[in-house]
């Protein structure tokens, strides 16, 4: 019977908090990339994901994902609905309290859903997004997390536990899953008005870099925390995460320098994210040198992939497909080549003399998630579209989704036209008598006198 480890518990608690920080980081990363008139809606879609998924997770999400199978490794049961059974002090997973594991895995569910929002920036109705989050988390994320992350001595999820697909921290369940969903939603919603004709360049690149930096920081919790212990595996995952990200950033910049003539800020941020995505499934099954190769491949391939939307004419606004789907595929499949028996996972890939076996498993795992996520998301998106609607009106989209959906704007560009607050207050308060107006007049004169004196 394993005993509770205070060190492991402390590390996973800290990791859970780090992973939560990734979602506000993602919000800034995405928010900086949209136009000024849509930044608040971008932030709100991510914050709403935090709120909705957190509640669903306690109600039934954790149970569906992480309790005993109700058939073939495809879906968990309902035995932990409401988490009542987990509150006892002796309920442990490995060496940590089960509730700590619940919290840690919750953060994965949140960011996976939030990642999708980048594909439909600037045009999705907020109510449509909220309904979609409920449906998608329930029908797609919770089951897929069960496939990949639930282990029970060969009777767990069909991909991870039964087939032996390696996905340490979520290359398939998180990134391929969200990327495929992003592609489906981009197709369901259609292109933004003026796409390819009007400039839709990022309105604030420093915000993008800040967001990317927070994602990078939080990602150590994501990957190294997935060891579910403060041990050597966490250490390997940590160093692999760092070097793969660095290599991907460099890879992206070199490609840009060669192709476009200039290394760009957005390229640096994007390259870092591509590397983080790609190393996520692989961070405990490759050596640091393998991680560098995976990072470089992700940086270059994702930089090439983001152009695909222009060729195939789908408007994945912020390149969720090019970075998360492609990056996730790169990382998941390259495990088949770079997996090293010297790593904590102890599996040999093709280059380590292990043959094609692992590559085949990675292929099955990646495409099973890709196809399931794409098909089901397409159906869910269509349901939302046909019922409550999934897109704002053309006028609202042109004028800016922030104002239309949230009655707010992010930036006060001009002081001209201000003063609406007093107008609002006076509307709700009873109309004042005419006296104050008479009092105001001399006050104005006084100010004028002072000015004269000052001169």
């Amino acid at each position: 019977m394993p005993e509770l480890s205070a060190g492991d518990t402390a590390w996973v608690l800290a990791s859970a908090a780090l992973v939560l920080l990734m979602t506000p980081g993602l919000a800034l990363f995405y928010g900086g990339m949209v136009r000024a008139k849509g930044v608040l809606n971008m932030l709100m879609m991510n914050f709403a994901a935090i709120a909705i998924v957190s509640v669903l997770w306690v109600l039934y999400g954790y149970s569906i994902a992480f309790t005993e199978d109700i058939g073939g490794g495809f879906l968990g049961g309902l035995s932990e609905v409401g988490l009542f059974g987990l509150l006892k002090q002796d309920s442990l997973i490995a060496t940590i309290p089960t509730t700590v594991f619940v919290a840690f895995q919750l953060m994965f569910a949140i960011i996976t859903v939030a990642l999708i929002s980048g594909a439909i920036a600037d045009r999705a109705k907020f109510s449509g997004w909220v309904l979609f989050v409920v449906l998608w988390a329930t029908v797609v994320y919770f089951p897929v997390a069960h496939w990949v992350f639930y282990f029970n001595e060969g009777n767990g999820g069909w991909l991870g536990d039964r087939l032996g697909v390696l996905d340490f921290a979520g290359g398939t369940a998180v990134h391929i899953n969200a990327g495929a969903a992003g592609l489906a939603l981009a197709l369901v919603l259609g292109r933004r008005i003026g796409w390819k004709k009007e400039p839709m360049r990022p309105h604030n690149l420093p915000l993008v870099l800040l967001g990317a930096g927070l994602l990078w920081f939080g990602w150590f919790g994501f990957n190294a925390g997935s060891a579910v212990a403060a041990n050597g595996t966490a250490g390997v995952a940590f160093i692999n995460t760092q070097v793969a990200t660095a290599a991907a950033l460099l890879g992206w910049l070199v490609l840009e320098r060669l192709r476009d003539g200039k290394p760009t800020t957005l390229g640096a941020a994007s390259g870092a994210i591509a590397g983080l995505v790609a190393i996520t499934p692989a961070c405990a099954s490759v050596t640091p040198i393998g991680a560098i190769f995976i990072g470089l491949a992700a940086g270059v391939l994702c930089a090439l992939a983001v152009g695909l939307k222009n060729r195939f004419n789908f408007d994945d606004s912020l390149d969720v497909v090019g970075i998360h789907l492609v990056g996730g595929l790169v990382g998941s499949l390259l495990i088949g080549l770079f997996a090293s028996s010297a790593s904590p996972a102890g599996v040999a890939g093709l280059f380590d003399g292990g043959g094609f076996a692992q590559l085949g498993k990675q292929f099955v795992g990646s495409f099973a998630v890709l196809i399931y996520s794409f098909v089901v998301t397409y159906i869910l998106g269509t349901i939302v579209k046909k019922t409550i609607g999934f897109r704002v009106s053309a006028d609202d989209e042109r004028a800016g989704i922030d104002l239309a959906e949230h009655a707010e704007t992010a930036y006060d560009f001009s002081s001209i036209g201000g003063g609406s607050r007093s107008h609002l207050l006076s509307r709700s308060a009873p109309e004042p008598e005419s006296e104050p107006e008479a009092e105001e007049a001399p006050a104005v004169e006084k100010i004028d006198d002072k000015e004269e004196v000052a001169r």
Partner: protein
């Protein structure tokens, strides 16, 4: 009286202002503006996708001057805004029928 209007590169504004102050011009109006001339904007690249930015940021100066000072003011602005590269801007002069100082009600050259 004349209105001298100049559309110049934003980073030359301080030079132009300093030069005009030395010359004795007491006030001006500065507005952020955007536009293009022969250079037709510039290209920006985001994730490999090129954007033609055809309206370039500029500042627009408006200076009211007495007829006798017009040539000197135009020359001062032109000299201070000059970089020799494309997109330096333009200066033009139009006649002004009346000028009133709001605070005092003075009119004509006294109001400048």
């Amino acid at each position: 009286m004349k209105l001298v209007t100049a559309v110049i590169k934003p980073h030359r504004l301080d030079e132009v202002r300093a030069a005009l102050e030395t010359f004795g011009v007491s006030g001006m109006t500065v507005t952020e503006a955007s536009g293009f001339g022969r250079q037709k904007g510039h290209t920006e690249v985001y994730r490999g996708a090129e954007y033609e930015v055809d309206l370039v940021p500029k500042v627009r100066l408006e200076i009211l001057v007495d007829d006798s000072d017009v040539d000197d003011v135009v020359q001062t602005v032109t000299k201070a805004a000059h970089t020799g590269k494309i997109g330096d801007g333009k200066v033009w002069v139009v006649p002004v029928e009346a000028v009133v100082r709001v605070r005092t009600g003075e009119r004509g050259p006294d109001a400048l």
